[in-house]
Amino acid sequence: MSRLGAVLGFRQAEWWQEFRESNIGLIGAAMTLVFLLAALLAPLIAPQNPYDLKQLFLQNSYKPPELFQTWAYQPFLLGSDGQGRCMFSAILYGLRISLYVGLMSTFLSAAFGTLVGVIAGYTGGKTDALIMRVADIQLSFPAILIALVIMAIWGPGLFKIIIAISVVNWVFYARTARGSTLSEREKDYVDSARAVGVSPAVIMFREILPNIVAPIIVIGTVRIANAIILEATLSFLGLGVPITEPSLGSLISEGYQVLFSGYWWISVLPGLGLMFIVLGINLLGDRLRDVLNPRLKR
């Protein structure tokens, strides 16, 4: 009955079998995993700590990538930026921040959105109408604008941008959760739970919630890539994370300023990193969606 068990029970689950068939999905999963690990282990594997001011010397600034000259794993493998920071290290740490913001905001907005959506769907009536009204109004405005306004007022900050992105994204989860709740609500097991006298709160969390996880995951895989790009864009505009802890977007912004002086590696390389992580997530998400989508099964 509960698909959550099937979704999390790896090997036997049919979706895993089907997922394994596509090379693309596996490549996506592998890419995402690699980048995730790289970000997690950044302090251990980066040749330099780019936040440690003591390690930065201006005479090292604007060095082009040394990748093909020396094969040693040392700072300035991919060049350095205007402050003498090793690009490779900066990218690793930047990746860390980008992923952190992306994951945290996705988690927050998914949790909040699903909660609200299930309540709206299950309770119905005025509560439902009100919540959906608010969601509809918010949806009629582009995400970037809302996030921009929030950050413009609040100022840059790691915590702030996570909140801003969460505020933008909760509606998608809420709408999906509500839709699924509406169809689950009519099913027999909910009826029987109600007949036995189980309280609504318990019904919502113990019975309905596990069964709507699949579409939430589907939405999540779309939104997380979105969240990462949104953070990068805002940081690029100077309205995201503070410049003391640069994310990939901030690095690209820095590089853009000096683009015409010929220091291409400062904007191109972080961008490549950003592109690959998003690509990996999209490949993974695409394949997951195909596998979990009931409408494509005949």
């Binding site: 009629s140 582009p142 790009i229 990068a232 505009l237 690209i252 015409f260 191109v268 998003v278």
Partner: protein, 321 residues
């Protein structure tokens, strides 16, 4: 049908009012204009005087109503930086942003719909796989980074296309347009393509998914059983069926493009609304930011309304209820 229209118009008005309230709230709670206007050595009394003179000591709803009244008259304050009416500054730049947005969307639709159809009807062909991979890449590329890359390749390295500004413009019917001059057109290419790539990828995926779903439906088999050629089934029947959601998304994406133009205009120094608002945010030019928010919100509400209208019109199931 008419009843529905009226209902939608009323809804839109309510949304616009909500937005004005939110914008006003932002204005009210952020920063004290008195502090910005007075020299640092002003006395408390002078501050109080100025406050009273500006009407800042009146109750909240009174200030809001004044704000609303002024807005309806078209008075949204004067820019601190440019010393011109804020609303004029924003409205002047609307044609530039729209030119960019519409060109990008046009490109995306022109190439996206055929590509999506191809990818849907021959899923195993090499071309389809290429299109699909391309679309995946397209939605993974951050728009601003793509812009930078294109500038690097086509402006810096190859020197083929200009990298900033709008070039020559001509005034047609009261609007300042750029694409009608060769110079203006050249300036339009890079920024429009930058935006178009993401939209193109989106449309390809949308059309492909929609097409694949439609082609699995029963009525398609029935159409074939009637002896209709595959071409007719796809390009007349299936296409019309997916047109409805596709047109809806295109309309909504137009709003997104206009918002995202903030980034693209920054990179390409394109003199549109987006660049203006970013500069104004960094320069703390509040009246301009407020004017931008209001005008852009009006634009979105109108766009949503138009999309709803088109949707209702296209789908006979809704039109004739």
């Amino acid at each position: 049908m008419l009843g529905y229209l009226i209902k939608r118009i009323l809804q839109s008005v309510v949304v616009v009012l909500c937005v004005t309230l939110v914008v006003f709230l932002i204005m009210y709670y952020t920063g004290d204009p008195v502090e910005l206007l007075l020299p640092p050595d002003a006395t408390v009394q002078q501050a109080e005087q100025l406050r009273h003179h500006l009407g800042l000591d009146r109750p909240f709803h009174a200030q809001y109503l004044t704000f609303l009244r002024n807005a309806l008259r078209g008075d949204l304050g004067t820019s601190f930086i440019f010393n011109q009416p804020a609303i004029q500054l924003v409205v002047e730049r609307v044609p530039a942003t729209l030119e960019l947005a519409l060109s990008a969307m046009f490109l995306a639709v022109l190439m996206g719909i055929p590509a999506g159809i191809i990818a849907a009807i021959r899923p195993k062909a090499a071309l389809s796989k290429l299109i699909l991979s391309g679309s995946l890449l397209g939605i993974s590329l951050p728009v601003f980074w793509l812009g930078i890359m294109l500038v690097m390749i086509f402006s810096v390295a190859l020197g083929w296309l200009p990298s900033s500004g709008r070039g020559e413009t001509v005034i047609v019917g009261g609007l300042r347009l750029g694409f009608l001059t060769w110079n203006g057109f050249r300036h339009l290419i890079l920024p429009a393509v930058t935006i178009a790539i993401f939209q193109l990828a989106l449309i390809i995926r949308l059309v492909r998914a929609g097409m694949m779903e439609v082609l699995l439906q029963d009525f398609v088999k029935f159409l074939k059983a009637k002896g209709l050629s595959e071409r007719r089934v796809i390009f007349i029947h299936a296409l019309k069926n997916i047109l409805i959601p596709v047109v809806t998304i295109i309309g909504l994406q137009l709003g997104n493009i206009i918002a995202f133009a903030i980034v693209t205009e920054t990179i390409f120094a394109w003199p549109g609304m987006g660049k203006l608002v970013i500069d104004s945010i960094h320069n703390l030019d509040r009246p301009v930011v407020v004017a931008y928010l209001l005008i852009v919100s009006l634009l979105f509400v109108f766009l949503n309304f138009a999309v709803d209208l088109v949707y209702t019109f296209l789908d006979p199931r809704i039109r004739l209820k």
